[in-house]
């Protein structure tokens, strides 16, 4: 029986004994006849499930009274997480190209775990917002990957947000479609509907705070789990009918929640099931490909700095769309004059000014000087690679702060208020991040002296290195 690992363990008894195959049907419904021990086990587990069960939407199914207390689960597909890969191995000697199905493999029950255990084989995440919002969704993607081993995760994001997925190894396809657009091109809309339906997702997550229209879009994907945020006001009317799980956002702008803006969704994704404990939320991590590192290394070498001996300065005020701000914090860019003041006090390192648009180069050269190191970067991937090779980061509340935390680089984050700082960088000490916030609630009034004080974090990290 070399092939048994492909099947759930409970199938092995009736694989060896074909006569008992007829009992397979009853096995997972009423196993108490066969296995009294398992029965008592299930009984002890049940209350924990009911505690976490949320109130069902009665409109979805008027005859659904929740989980049946008399229901007994056997061991088949009921316990633990899903299998990593359910595809049987290739059979190289088979002339017809069939796979090597193990003995007793029943195609009929292959899809049962999707029902019983709620397996997710394909998952689609629709992320609303730009780079920052997409970056903050990375922990959720990692959590899905951990909770449902072997899941294929696809992403639908806006054109800007999609670029973030250069940094994510867990995503299969990233498709550009702006779900924030309330009036999409009819052609685009129908095309995307058809494409999503054709991909046969088991779970569709959406972080757009949406109403009935967005719910209808999710409904048309025909996924089993359609999960979305809904409006906290009357505009959410009817959205729950078409969704299987809804989270009522605290405000219309989800990004105001800061780093934990997807807390409700993450809680639901990592919820404990019968025998699986609650899945912890992993920290934000990004991965940078070798090619990206090479490209960026060339860029900063041209700008005249060496690896590990520069400090990235990000957050220069510009009307470029590539400034990677959060939608929850609009006051998060500083004019170049302030940056020049801050950069003056950097000792032993070279500041590298990251400009989001080529037209800013002149301004920077004018104010900082002709010999300033300037790197033109618009994509989060390149910014991450630049931060990865740097000694530290000084940035306003942009994706640069999160990227520095993700690569565990020391950073100084400038915030317009202390509250925002706490929201966007929780546990700042653990992340080697110093939050400097403005006293007046406006970023422009930030004290440069405080930033200069904070700069010793780079010296400490240098001494350690």
């Amino acid at each position: 029986m070399a092939t048994t690992p492909l099947l759930p363990k409970s199938t092995s008894p009736f694989v060896s004994n074909p006569l008992s195959l007829s009992s397979a049907h009853t096995h997972f419904i009423k196993p108490s006849f066969f296995n009294p021990l398992e029965h008592s086990h299930a009984c002890t587990k049940r209350p924990t499930v009911q505690v976490h069960a949320k109130k069902k939407n009665p409109w979805l199914d008027p005859f659904d009274d929740g989980e049946d207390p008399e229901m007994e689960y056997g061991s088949m597909f009921a316990d633990g997480k899903q299998e990593e890969d359910t595809r049987p191995p290739d059979a190289p000697n088979n002339p017809y190209g069939f796979l090597k199905f193990p003995m007793g493999f029943a195609v009929e029950i292959a899809s049962l775990p999707l029902k019983i255990r709620g397996d997710v084989r394909r998952c689609c995440c629709m992320i609303s917002g730009g780079v920052y919002e997409n970056l903050l969704f990375f922990p959720a993607i990692q959590l899905i990957k951990d909770r449902y081993p072997g899941v294929l995760i696809d992403v639908i994001a806006s054109a800007r947000g999609k670029q973030t997925y250069e940094l994510n190894k867990n995503v299969r396809w990233a498709t550009v479609y702006d779900i924030d657009d309330d009036w999409p091109e009819p052609g685009d809309y129908t095309d995307m509907t058809g494409e999503l339906k054709g991909r046969y997702y088991d779970m569709v997550l959406s972080t757009k705070v949406g109403g009935l229209g967005h719910a209808a879009f999710l409904f048309m994907t025909t996924a089993r789990d359609r999960v979305s945020y809904i409006y906290p006001n009357v505009n959410a009317a009817g959205a729950g009918l078409l969704l299987s799980e809804t989270f009522t956002a605290e405000s219309i702008n989800l990004s105001e929640g800061g780093y934990n803006m997807y807390q409700q969704m993450v809680d639901w994704l990592g919820r404990p099931s019968r025998t699986v404990p609650k899945q912890p939320v992993p920290p934000l991590r990004v991965s940078i490909s070798r090619k990206l590192k090479q490209v960026v290394a060339e860029k900063y070498t041209n700008a005249g700095v060496e690896k590990g001996k520069y400090i990235v300065i990000y957050g220069i005020e510009s009307d470029s769309k590539a400034s990677m701000q959060s939608r929850g914090d609009t006051d998060s860019l500083l004019p170049i004059q302030v940056w020049a003041d801050i950069a003056d006090s950097i000792r032993g390192m070279k500041p590298v000014f990251v400009i989001p648009h080529e037209k800013e180069r002149e301004n920077v050269e004018e104010i900082v000087g002709e010999d300033a190191s300037i790197v033109f970067i618009t994509t989060p991937g390149q910014l991450a690679a630049l931060i990865n090779d740097s000694a530290g980061v000084i940035a306003t509340n942009t994706a640069a702060v999160q990227l520095a935390n993700a690569r565990e680089k020391p950073s100084i984050a400038l915030f317009c208020s202390e509250l925002k700082g706490r929201l966007f960088v929780p546990n700042a000490e653990e992340k080697k991040c110093i939050v400097v916030s403005s006293k007046t609630g406006k970023l422009i009034d930030i004290e440069v002296e405080a930033v200069k004080q904070a700069m010793q974090i780079f010296d400490v990290s240098l001494a350690l290195a």
């Binding site: 250069e166 994510n168 190894k169 995503v171 990233a174 498709t175 991965s287 490909s289 070798r290 090619k291």
Partner: protein, 168 residues
């Protein structure tokens, strides 16, 4: 005109034999007058385009009068019923529409332009769309493998260190 034809006695040809009788009429216009009486009489023959479909292609009217030459009216109008006319026009319209689309598309520079074909192809007439997405997907898969290899290397390195520490 239709009333004029209808007023004559109409010889209804029997299905398949209609063409033959008409031929006979045309070849021997006076044959019918030989056996008839002196009175003036007339006969009409119709030819159907298809035996079972009422599409009259040709009508031959033979008017016979005593002591005179036979007056032969040879009509080759198509007599189409309303339904047949509708069918013809429907077909004409459908053909026109299809033709506009089909022949219009055969030589459209748009379909050979960079906008339409831009995503690539392998030069054999097989065009790949969404090539960009596939490239990105492959890049991410590569990233995943790189990280996995790094992790394994770290673990192996850690194990080796442990082993060395154990030996010492």
């Amino acid at each position: 005109m239709a009333e004029a034809i209808m007023s004559f006695t109409i010889i209804k040809p029997l299905g398949h034999s209609s063409l033959q009788s008409t031929k006979w009429d045309m070849l021997h216009p006076s044959s019918k007058s030989l056996e008839g009486s002196n009175k003036k009489r007339a006969s009409l023959c119709k030819v159907n385009a298809f035996p079972d479909w009422p599409l009259t292609l040709m009508a031959v009217l033979v008017e016979h009068a005593e002591g005179q030459r036979d007056l032969i009216t040879h009509k080759s109008i198509w007599h189409l019923s309303d339904k047949a006319i509708k069918n013809v026009y429907a077909f004409y319209m459908m053909f026109t529409c299809w033709g506009c689309l089909f022949f219009g598309a055969t030589k459209d520079p748009y379909y050979d332009s960079e906008v339409y074909r831009g995503d690539g192809g392998d030069g054999t007439g097989h065009w790949f769309y969404e090539k960009q997405e596939d490239i990105e997907e492959a890049a991410r898969a590569e990233l995943w493998r790189e990280e996995l290899i790094e992790e394994i290397e770290q673990k192996v390195g850690g194990l080796q260190e442990l082993e060395e520490a154990g030996r010492k």
